[in-house]
Assembly symmetry: C3
Homo-oligomer: 333 residues x 3
Amino acid sequence: MSASPASNSKVLSLAELAQRTGARLEGDGTVRITRVATLQDAGEGDISFLSNPRYRDEVAGSHASAVILAEDALDLTQVPRLIHPNPYACFAQVAQLLDPYPAAPPGVHASASVATTARLGANVSVGAHATIGEGAEIGDDSVIYPNVTIYPRVRIGARCIVHAGAVIGADGFGFANDKGNWVKIPQSGSVIIGDDVEVGANTTIDRGALADTLIGDGVKLDNQIQIGHNVRIGDHTAIAACTGIAGSTVIGAYCSIGGAAMIHGHISVADRVTIGAGAMVRQAITEPGGTYGGTFPIAPVRDWLKNVSHLRNLDRMNERIRALEKRLADSGK
Amino acid sequence: MSASPASNSKVLSLAELAQRTGARLEGDGTVRITRVATLQDAGEGDISFLSNPRYRDEVAGSHASAVILAEDALDLTQVPRLIHPNPYACFAQVAQLLDPYPAAPPGVHASASVATTARLGANVSVGAHATIGEGAEIGDDSVIYPNVTIYPRVRIGARCIVHAGAVIGADGFGFANDKGNWVKIPQSGSVIIGDDVEVGANTTIDRGALADTLIGDGVKLDNQIQIGHNVRIGDHTAIAACTGIAGSTVIGAYCSIGGAAMIHGHISVADRVTIGAGAMVRQAITEPGGTYGGTFPIAPVRDWLKNVSHLRNLDRMNERIRALEKRLADSGK
Amino acid sequence: MSASPASNSKVLSLAELAQRTGARLEGDGTVRITRVATLQDAGEGDISFLSNPRYRDEVAGSHASAVILAEDALDLTQVPRLIHPNPYACFAQVAQLLDPYPAAPPGVHASASVATTARLGANVSVGAHATIGEGAEIGDDSVIYPNVTIYPRVRIGARCIVHAGAVIGADGFGFANDKGNWVKIPQSGSVIIGDDVEVGANTTIDRGALADTLIGDGVKLDNQIQIGHNVRIGDHTAIAACTGIAGSTVIGAYCSIGGAAMIHGHISVADRVTIGAGAMVRQAITEPGGTYGGTFPIAPVRDWLKNVSHLRNLDRMNERIRALEKRLADSGK
C-alpha cells in the first residue's frame, strides 16, 4: 500500500513484449511502449491492435508506435509490429504487462478478519474489512478485495479474483412449508470454486443444501450475479452482470450468458451455449453450441401499449384466423 | 469461533429425533443417525424422506438407515421410520438438529461497529465488520452476518437472520424535480422487521420517507432483493432472489414471489398470491390466492428475431383479421 | 455519533421556513412547525403541500398547521401558507430543514480504511468499515456510508452521498478469448463522479478499460444498479433500482430510467429520454425527449401459458393472414 497514483507507469521495449507474449517481432524492437490504446486514440509510445476486420482501414492512419496484427494483416502498416495468431488475446497480455493500475498488495490487510482455521495460499491478497470464515481455503496468488465475505468452509482455487462486496457461501434459499410457516432447511454444503475464476463486485454465490455449489476453472462472473445453492457451472463459462441462476441448475462449459439473464432452477444448459442478455430460460437447453435470445422489444410507449394489449388475445386471434380459414374452405375458395 | 471444520458432525438416535420433532417412531429407535440425504444418495447412518409421491418407488431401494414418511406411506419400507403428517417439514427439523455447519457464535465480533445507543437482545450474533447504527434494535437470538449495514433506528425482531452484505435502512429514492435538478426528499422513516425473518446476502431494504418500511413476521427474502421505501410485506411471504419491489407497494401475507420478479410502486398484491419468476407486475392484484406468470419465452435466436418483429405489428395484424372478417361477412360467407 | 434517537426533532417557525426556502408567507408566520406530512395524515405542528391537482379537495379538510401551495391554489385554505412556484420542491427543502434523521457525522470512522494517498475534502463523512483506495479523491461535504468500497484513483465530487455496500471502481468485465480460455484485459481507467451525485446501496460502478467511466453532476442512482466500464451518464439523469447498463453505453442528460431496466452496451440514449421500468433497450435511442416502454404483461398463469404459446408462431400467423388475404383477393371479394 505505497505507490503514489502517478508513479507506476511502466515502459517495455517492443522486443521484450514480443518475447513475453510469444508474438513475432516485425521491425524495430527497441521502440519503447508505455500504454495500450485503440487505433484511433493511439499516439507516441502507444501500442494498438487489429482484431475486427472492420477496422482494417484505420491501421494505416493510426499514430500508434506499434501495432499487434495477425499474419494476414502484416502489410497494413510499416510501423513496428507484433504478429500473433490472436491479436486480441496478445493485446490483453500486453495490456497486463503495461497495466499502470496499482496491483492488490499480497498479504492480509490489518483490518481484515481471517479465521484462525482458514488457510491462505502463497501470495494471497486479502483486502480491508474482508472476512474469511472458519475452515475456508484460498489458493495461491488469489486476490480478495475489500468487504468481501467468505463463509466458513468455502474453497477457492488459485489465481482467483473476488471483487469487493461479493458474498460467497451464504445460506441457499431453502424452506419447508408447514401450514404457512417456513421451516428453514439448513444449508450444510459449501461452495467450491476452481482456479482462475473471477467473481464480480457484489456477486453472491450460495452454498449448497446437502451437496456443494460448484464453479469450474476459468469461470468469469461479472457484478451482481446471483448463483443459487447447488448450482454447477462448467469450466470457462462467462456470465455478464445482473444474471441470476436458480438453485440446482447445471450450466455447461464454455457458455456465454448475457447480462440480466434469468435461468430457472433444476434445469441444465449444454456446453458452448450462448444466451442473450435479458433472456429468461425456463427449460433445459440440451443441444450444445446453440444461440438463444428472447426479450420483449421496447417501443415508444404509445405503440407499446397498443401492441401489448393484443398479447392477451393471441389465442383469440389464432381462433379468428382458423375460423376464417374454415369459412373460406367451406365456401370452396 | 473455535470448532475445526471436521469436528462438528452430530449423532442422534432415531428415538431422539422422533421425540424432538413430534414424529411417531416405527421400528428400532436406537439406530444412530448422522446426516440427512436424498433417497437416492442415502447410505449407512443417513435419514431420508418421502414428500413428493413421484419418488414412492425409490423408497424400497434406498440404502437410508431411516426414512421420514406420511402415514399413508408407512408400508413402503421396513427400515426404521419417522411418521409425520408433513414429512418435508419434519425433514427440515431433523436437518436442523443434525446440521454440521458451524453456527454463528453469539456475541459481537471484535471488528464489528455497534453504536452505543443500539440495543442488542440476548444471544444476538454480530459478525465481523457488521455496522449497527444509532438507536437500532436487534431482537433476541438474531444473527447478523459479516459486512451487514444496519442504519440508525432500524428495528429487527427476534430469531432473524441477516446475511452478509445486506443493507437495511438506506435512504429511499425520493427527489423532487426543480427545473431539471433533483432536490432530495429526506427519508425520515425507518425499517421495522418482524420476528423469524431471513434476509439474503446483498439484499437492500430502504427506510421510509415519512412512515416506515414494514416487513412482517416469518418473511423470507432471498439474495439481492431490493425493497423500496414504504413497502409493506405481509407475514410469511417468501420472495426469491433478484426481485425488486418499488416504493409504497403493499404485498399481502403468505405470498410466493418468484426470482427476478419486478413489482411496480404504489400498488397492492393480495394475500396468498403466487407470482412467477421474472414477472413484471404493473397493476394491483386484488384477488387473493391467484397464480400469475408472464415472461417472454426464449427461442433459438433466428426464430426469436423472426417472431419478435411481428410484436410491433400486432395491432396491424388484428386490423387485417378484422378486415378479412368484414369482407367475408359482406360477401355473405 | 451521539444524539439519542428521540433527541433530534427540530422546530422552526413558518416565517423561518419561508425565508430559508424563498417561499412567500401568507398568514401567521409564528406558527411552529416540527414535521412534514401528507394532507391526509397531517395534524398539529405539521406542514403539508399540494402538488398534484388531484388532491385539491383534500386541502380544505386537512388538519395541517400550514400548507405549501402554488399561487393558483392560494385560496384553497385559510391556514398559514407558503406560496411557491414548485410546491413539491419547496416541500423537499422544508423536509430537509426539519429532518429528524441523524446526519452522518463528519470525519472518518475509527474502523474505516483510508489509504494514505487518498484525499478527502472538507467535512467528508466516512462510515464504519468503508474502504478508500490509493489515490482516490472525495470532494467536500460528501458522505460515504459504512461498508462502501472505493477502489484506487476513483474521483468523487462534492456533496455526494454513497450508500452502504456500494462498490465504485471494481474491474470492468473485459476478457479476450484465447481458444476457449479468457485472458483478462486489465482495466486501467477509473471512475469519475461529478458533484451532487447519490449512489444507492449495493450499487456497483466499474472503472473503465482504457478511458474512464463518467457519472455527471446531479445524477441520482438508486440501489443495486450496475454500471459497466466506460459508461457515461449525463448530468441530472435519475435511474431507479436494479437497472443495469452494459459497457461503453452513453446515456444523455436529464433522462429518467425506470427500475430494472436493462440497457445494452455500446449504444447511446439521447437527452431527456424516459425509459419505463423493466424495459430492455437493445438499440440506440437517438431522438431526445421520447418515452419508451416494453415489458411483457403478467396474466393468470393459465391465460399466460395459452397466449405465450402463440408467440412462437407469430410468423406463421402472419403467413396465414397473408394467405387468406390472397385467397380473398383472388376470388374477387
